[in-house]
């Protein structure tokens, strides 16, 4: 009997698109898809805890469904030959229909926002300087000199004599190519490139924010600070786990898998550099500085550093310092000696991305106490003023990114992002298409509107009794199923799927855990700093995701503290903006290091009162109409006494 099987994948939307791969027996369909070059996402890290890797068996045999297949997909889907690709082992030749998330191309990724260079408070001192010089090749044999010495002689004093081997290899040609006219590029006085002729006009750099979910970058002119091109997309590692922890778990104690993650991000970044250069019409060889920020896990994986222990208490990173490496060591496709710089990590999961947000929001310079919240799978909170900053990282989990939500999806085309309820329910869908799911901001908005419309109470429970008090069209959307109550946002006939788009009671519970984690982070820092709500001058929401959240809804669901709405602001993609600032300015880059050592990290899980704050934070605002009042028992007793 042969030990291998043939797996053929057919695209759900285009059945002429197929690809076939040969796999060892007992590999999973997910493994097969990855070697066939098909990205089936496994948001939970291939643990059978979500349904993103759902596929359909078209022909051939697979083992009986596992418990996880049944739990995640339900009996009906399993009977229709749907399976979780991560749980299904190969035992025979099969044909599988992959179900790629539709229209992921429409994923809203927030780029840089306004030009950071327009900010008058920043000095343009990228550290990269081009010197146009004319050096003369040695002519007299008795002169005890060398090509390099002749070049150094015409460069400013203080230029580092220690020259990289690749630069050295260029010396003889460049010196003689155009009669000695050459452009010497230095980074902080160290020669990183030599070119014949005058190329002083061309000094570029790229800033990247590598997020767990998405990657965004900006190509910039380092001389003028001008933004030349924005690039970005979904982090290609996401197929190996949607949130930080499942990403770490995937690569934990397994160097090969770590390298897989690393290769994915490097390829993506190299592609983005290529795209950005093409868009701006420049050569990648003129990119001399690359600024990278990301959370501790993304940072380490990008460098190929083992993240095993980052995922375990006490969650210590391997390195926190400002790092600078030549591009060819990564490798990134820019000038071979371009400097790849990483911002420092504060502690644990308060990473280089948070550091970038601190730079961009200038919270360190504020007279009043402000807070900055990066809302994502890990919600980082920084609070303070020029007198000092505190930071913490709240494990919100992937629910706000749409994972572990029945109809959850990222903020892409077809996602419900806004909900309003009057006598009817109205949903706003990204791209104006029929709804195929619900993104994090949509989930928050929906729950806030449920509370306002009394479809749900403050405990997060869907209304069971007294539905006749609701507008009939709204009441009709509450459905009692065997798995509990669910609310139909979009009925089947209007949805872009062959089923209604609903929010289940379990979805609401997931949101409660996620938002309470972030809310508790804010409350905890307030408590440590002894700052009541009234003294908070501003809460700034950072991150691509934060910008799409309705602030009133965020207050209603208790994701953010109950401040006047004008104090709740959006800061755009602050992590990318901070990266741009550190790209354009060495002052900013070094400021980040200084700040990273001054910010005090508050470890939430280690604090005794965190649990109590977290539990308190699980409720929404509003009233509790379904929960029996505490005094009911007493009142019943009193009534019974009277009855006697």
């Amino acid at each position: 009997m042969s030990n291998t099987v043939q797996v053929t994948f057919v695209d759900q939307h285009d059945n002429t698109k197929t690809s076939t791969t040969t796999q060892p027996m007992d590999a999973t369909i997910l493994d097969a898809s990855h070697s066939a070059g098909i990205d089936i996402e496994a948001t939970c890290g291939a643990r059978g805890r979500c349904r993103t890797c759902r596929v359909k068996l078209l022909s051939g045999d697979v083992p009986p469904p596992t418990i996880q297949d049944t739990v995640q997909l339900g009996h009906d889907e399993v009977r229709e030959n749907f399976r979780l690709a991560c749980q299904t082992k190969l035992i025979a030749d099969v044909t599988i229909m992959s179900m790629p998330p539709k229209a992921e191309a429409g994923h809203q990724i927030l780029a840089g926002g306004e030009d950071v260079s327009q900010d008058g408070r920043m000095t343009l001192d990228s550290g990269v300087v081009k010197h146009l010089v004319k050096a003369v090749a040695p002519v007299e044999e008795h002169h005890q000199t060398s090509d390099l010495e002749e070049i150094l002689a015409v460069l400013p004093e203080g230029t580092d004599r220690d020259v990289n081997i690749e630069v050295l290899r260029k010396v003889p040609t460049v010196l003689r190519d155009q009669g000695g006219e050459m452009t010497v590029t230095t980074f902080n006085d160290r020669i990183i490139d030599l070119e014949a002729g005058d190329t002083t006009e061309h000094i570029y750099g790229v800033a990247f924010d590598i997020g767990t979910t998405s990657v965004v970058g900006t190509l910039m002119d380092l001389t003028t600070g001008e933004r030349l091109a924005d690039v970005g997309g979904v982090n290609p590692q996401a197929v190996y786990g949607g949130d930080l922890m499942s990403r770490i778990a995937y690569a934990q104690f397994d160097d090969k898998k770590l390298q897989t993650l690393r290769a994915r991000i490097l390829n993506a970044i190299n592609d983005y550099i290529k795209d950005a250069c093409a868009e701006a019409g420049i050569s990648a060889n003129h990119i001399y500085k690359i600024m990278v920020v990301g959370n501790s896990c993304m940072h380490h994986v990008f460098l190929g550093i083992d993240v095993s222990y980052v995922g375990l208490a006490p969650y210590a990173p391997v390195v926190r310092d400002l790092l600078v490496y030549p591009a060819r060591d990564l490798p990134l496709k820019a000038a071979p000696n371009a400097r790849v710089c990483l911002l420092p990590i504060v502690a644990g999961f308060v990473g280089a991305d948070t550091m970038a947000c601190v730079l961009a929001t200038r919270i360190y310079d504020s007279d009043e106490i402000r807070a900055m919240v990066d809302i994502g799978t890990n919600g980082e909170v920084v609070m303070g003023s020029k007198d000092g900053l505190l930071a913490c990282s709240a494990p919100a989990g992937p629910a706000l990114e749409g994972a572990q939500i029945r109809h959850g999806m990222r903020g892409a085309m077809g996602a419900i992002e806004k909900v309003s309820i009057d006598d009817e329910v109205h949903c706003t869908v990204i791209g104006g298409t029929p709804a195929i799911g619900l993104c994090g901001s949509g989930l928050i908005d929906a729950c806030a509107k449920f509370v306002d419309a009394k479809v749900m109470d403050a405990s997060g429970r869907f209304r069971k009794d007294g539905r006749d008090e609701l507008p009939p069209a709204v009441a009709a959307r509450l459905h009692d199923t065997v798995d509990g109550i669910e609310f139909i946002l979009v009925p089947t006939e209007d949805s872009g799927k062959d089923e209604p788009i609903t929010i289940t009671q379990a979805d609401v519970r997931q949101l409660q855990l996620a938002k309470s984690a972030i809310f508790s982070g804010i409350v905890m820092l307030q408590r440590v700093m002894e700052v009541p709500d009234e003294q908070l001058a501003e809460v700034m929401m950072c991150g691509g995701f934060g910008n799409y959240i309705n602030t009133q809804s965020a207050v209603t669901v208790k994701l953010l503290p109950d401040l006047p709405l004008e104090k709740l602001t959006y800061s755009g993609n602050a992590a990318l903006m901070g990266a741009q600032m550190a790209l354009l300015s060495e002052t900013e880059r070094h400021r980040a290091f200084k700040l990273s050592r001054e910010i005090e990290h508050v470890a939430l899980a280690a604090r005794m009162d965190f649990q109590e704050i977290f539990i308190d934070g699980m409720n929404f605002t509003g009233e509790n109409f379904t929960r029996p009042k505490r005094s009911d028992a007493r009142r019943a007793a009193a009534a019974a006494a009277v009855g006697d």
Partner: protein
């Protein structure tokens, strides 16, 4: 089906209670988490001379189990469950000394904790309270517990069961490590091992070599009670 769970009336409670006695208020008090009132009602029941075991089974459990079932069905959530657990605890505090005096044996000795590398304990707190409520003696080792400490604790306590949760995808691995260490110490057949936590699955429980996996706190308690009926090698 799993529509709203209903209060399960303890069968035959009327015969066990004094003439005209009414438990309804206590059921409601535990359900709504009114710990002050629970305390008062239990005190009254004790003064009325009702057998502490009956106070527990007929008076406290119905309201508690109702909330537990609702919790399992996602109808109520962690805050409400904890409020009910607190009321239950208030009642138990009065009864436990009486049970001990009557030499009523605990349902079992349960050692628990969160595995090495993991600092999270909210789920564990709930499980721990629920197990105590169900009559277990619970030794909670806290978070970030080294396998050696688990082994030491089950030896010292002559534990019947051991349970550990992992709340991070990165720490589930240590559930298996801990089970392996228990086996190495030669105790695997003396304790029943339960695991749980958000990133875990029944499949993982099997792979890690556990005896059971609980979806939630309620299930963990039922599982623990069932496992107590199974044979084990006795502690020396």
């Amino acid at each position: 089906m799993s529509d709203d769970p209903e209060l399960q009336y303890p069968t035959g409670w009327e015969e066990r209670a004094p003439e005209g006695w009414e438990w309804e208020n206590l059921w409601k008090a535990v359900e709504t988490g009114d710990h002050g009132y629970t305390h008062d009602r239990v005190t009254e029941a004790i003064e009325a001379g009702i057998d502490p075991r009956d106070i527990l089974d007929d008076g406290l459990f119905p309201g508690f189990n109702l909330q537990g079932d609702r919790f399992s069905a996602n109808i109520i959530f962690i805050p409400e469950m904890l409020i009910t657990a607190r009321a239950m605890k208030a009642g138990l505090a009065l009864i436990r000394p009486l049970l001990a005096a009557m030499a009523v044996k605990p349902a079992g000795v349960f050692v628990m904790g969160t595995v090495l590398g993991d600092m999270h304990d909210i789920g564990q707190t709930i499980v721990s309270i629920m197990l105590e409520n169900a009559g277990f003696t619970v030794i909670n080792l806290g978070t970030d517990v080294h396998p050696d400490r688990f082994v030491e604790a089950i030896e010292n306590e002559k534990a019947d069961l051991i349970g550990f949760s992992a709340l991070l995808s990165t720490t589930v691995y240590y559930q298996k490590v801990t089970i392996d260490e228990i086996a190495k110490a030669g105790h695997r057949d003396k304790v029943h091992v339960l695991i749980g936590g958000a990133p875990t699955t029944p499949a993982w429980a099997e792979e890690a070599g556990a005896d059971g996996w609980g979806k939630d706190a309620m299930e963990a308690v039922k599982l623990a009670l069932n496992l107590m009926k199974e044979d084990r090698v006795a502690w020396a």
